[in-house]
Subunit: 458 residues, 2 copies
Amino acid sequence: MRAIDIIIKKRSKFELTKREISFMVQNYVNNIITDYQMSSFLMACFLNGLNNVETSYLTKEMIMSGDRYDLSKLEKYCLIDKHSTGGVGDKTSLILAPIASYFNLKVPMMSGRGLGHTGGTLDKLESIKGYKVLFNQEKFINIISECGYVMVGQTDDIVPADKKIYALRDASGTVESIPLLTSSILSKKVAEGAKNLVMDVKMGSGAFMKEHKDAFKLAESIIKTSKELGLNTRALITDMSNPLGRNVGNFLEVKECIEIIDPNIFKEFWTYQKKNLTYTYKGLSSDLMIISIELASHMLMMCNKARDKIEAQDMIIKAIENGNVLDIFYKNVELQGGDLSRLKRDLQERSSPYKYQLLAEKDGYIKDIDAYKIGAAAVLLKAGRDKKNDIIDYDSGIVFFKKKEDFVKKGETILEIHAKKEKHIENSLPLIKVAITITDNNKDISPFLGVIEELINF
Amino acid sequence: MRAIDIIIKKRSKFELTKREISFMVQNYVNNIITDYQMSSFLMACFLNGLNNVETSYLTKEMIMSGDRYDLSKLEKYCLIDKHSTGGVGDKTSLILAPIASYFNLKVPMMSGRGLGHTGGTLDKLESIKGYKVLFNQEKFINIISECGYVMVGQTDDIVPADKKIYALRDASGTVESIPLLTSSILSKKVAEGAKNLVMDVKMGSGAFMKEHKDAFKLAESIIKTSKELGLNTRALITDMSNPLGRNVGNFLEVKECIEIIDPNIFKEFWTYQKKNLTYTYKGLSSDLMIISIELASHMLMMCNKARDKIEAQDMIIKAIENGNVLDIFYKNVELQGGDLSRLKRDLQERSSPYKYQLLAEKDGYIKDIDAYKIGAAAVLLKAGRDKKNDIIDYDSGIVFFKKKEDFVKKGETILEIHAKKEKHIENSLPLIKVAITITDNNKDISPFLGVIEELINF
């Protein structure tokens, strides 16, 4: 068997066998197949596709390239994870993991770092002083056992094939491939020990998948491949055309999450939300809450903790209102090495040295806040990474005072930019300005779509 | 400008600009773009194609990556070359270059080495003791001036982009791409100084292009791109389903060429050929002669030495019959450093130590001699290369006693295998046996098609 023949076979649109896929993955991980052969192979896979059988072979082969966490100690619990394809201001993991944990679900969550316009869960959590995201298996299991969830990064021993292949895809233009994305996501979920998965497939300008047809294909591929892997998976396609929530930027997003699960703030917010009075109340934005509760509801339903979404939602709201969710969040912070008293102080005091308020130049309704442009602006503010090894500034970012559909008066603040240096504000401002569209007429605004589609039994 | 964006642009089926193509080629040659980015780019070009404008930009950029021979000293002559896409037993260059030279055409011919099942002109010529194929520009021009043609390899200074890109394509599965083949072929033709080109696009099992539609596309692409480059090009699509001529193997092919242009042998052969009595007479096979004369005729017509093909053919036959063509061949051998008296002795005496005659197992007609299998068998006999750095044995190969449409009696010799070691014969024999098909009925044999199509004014 030769790599060149397998490349040519895929280039010529033939289906690859299990042995051929195994040959490519194993030999690439062992440095026998070169980067240039692998990148040519990946481009052939990108353009000619892999069917569901090939994708599941690829995923299995990737899983076998490294260790698999043994969570048999936790097998009496419902082991479940949520994964998002990435967005701007997407911080639902921080909200739903403590929710799920409160209901005795166990969440072994392996996340990534931000790259390009999309943020990463690990970066957000590491903005909490002391918070650690790399543990050995024993500690990994202990944290889950104690607080119900753990948030970790991919160690070198977990799916090394994915690490190596993903870095190459990133450099050679083959990231946005349905089968390659599928295998990358699912290999890590199986290796971390999850048995159930709620997949949040983001769709819109701030997402990988701009169009519904692509988001649907990815969701379909993930569900079908999950079946082959024995992973019970549901997928939700959700709106990522505008940034999710109020804040974009790492510590700003942590702060927003803590506020949203703070019983006092939440209660008042939820009262307003139920009346549908406004999307943004006291700076909390309901879009984030809607998506977080939807995803958490599916987790409860999949683990047979709730019969339907109404029941699940009631349970979740009560748990937040009682302060149980926030307690678990804080417990997790401590278990993962975070300095809790410092965090509580930081929530009050910590801030960027430079701030700039963008004011409305005329009266009107916010028609659109382009998530892609905001994500790219966050990179210019050093809240995100342009290249993998860029160092990020945890405090910088953007705080929205107004969101889509909100009315804004001339001179009123639309958003506030937080930055470490004045020139970062200068760099990002033009992009932020063009991201915002204001209209006279609130009739031509497409509302926040929330969950666009649910793929449950497929 | 970034390589990754250009890769993604081509991956997404957009047309590339001159600047983008220039960026890729220049930075790859200068080792700024990595092999793995380039191979991914080449696979995207392979699968999504390059249009004629993009192909001509690529070709021009490749030409500019190195030196161009200055043949202004020869500008009063018609500077013409012939190029073949490669086949099995394809040795027409050795025959038509001295023919063209006799009629005062000047032929600066840059050829390649054999790889895989196809042979290479340089290997054939280097089987002549002392024959050299690398010269500086001065010597290059001197040889053309003195005997009318020169046969050289690609030096490091001529189209270095092609050398580097071709090696990568070979290793990463992107060889058989119409635009990439076009740019590779034409960049060298323009750089060597040719103004006119007859392109022999081989079609059939022994060729790159197995199907007519692919051969036609390549011919079309070469002609259209030639126009953009100011190169006057005609293309012939010719039959490469069976090996061309009597011999396959380097020195064996040189020998066959010398016999075919030997006036005494040719005269008798041509008498029979005109009567259409048989395809193989005294071991000389008319298919090679037909293709060689066709190609040479087009060269004469393009350079206004003959009005039509009939006139050209008459001129060519006379030149061979008078011994003028053989004289020029020998003159070229001496000018390129070959030992002529040694060559003449070798023609009589030199031979492989091991020979094996394959005999017919039953009476019948030869229906097919699969060129691909014969080419692959030649590699097993060490007459060809499996990998670029393999050392080849110049004397080994296959001599056909019978060709397609010939009748063969049980026990009669179909072909003779020549090899340096007995085990090479053992290795190649099974493949050679399955390459030969014999039938009872001579009605279902598709004849040698010769020139299948001529693309002249396109």
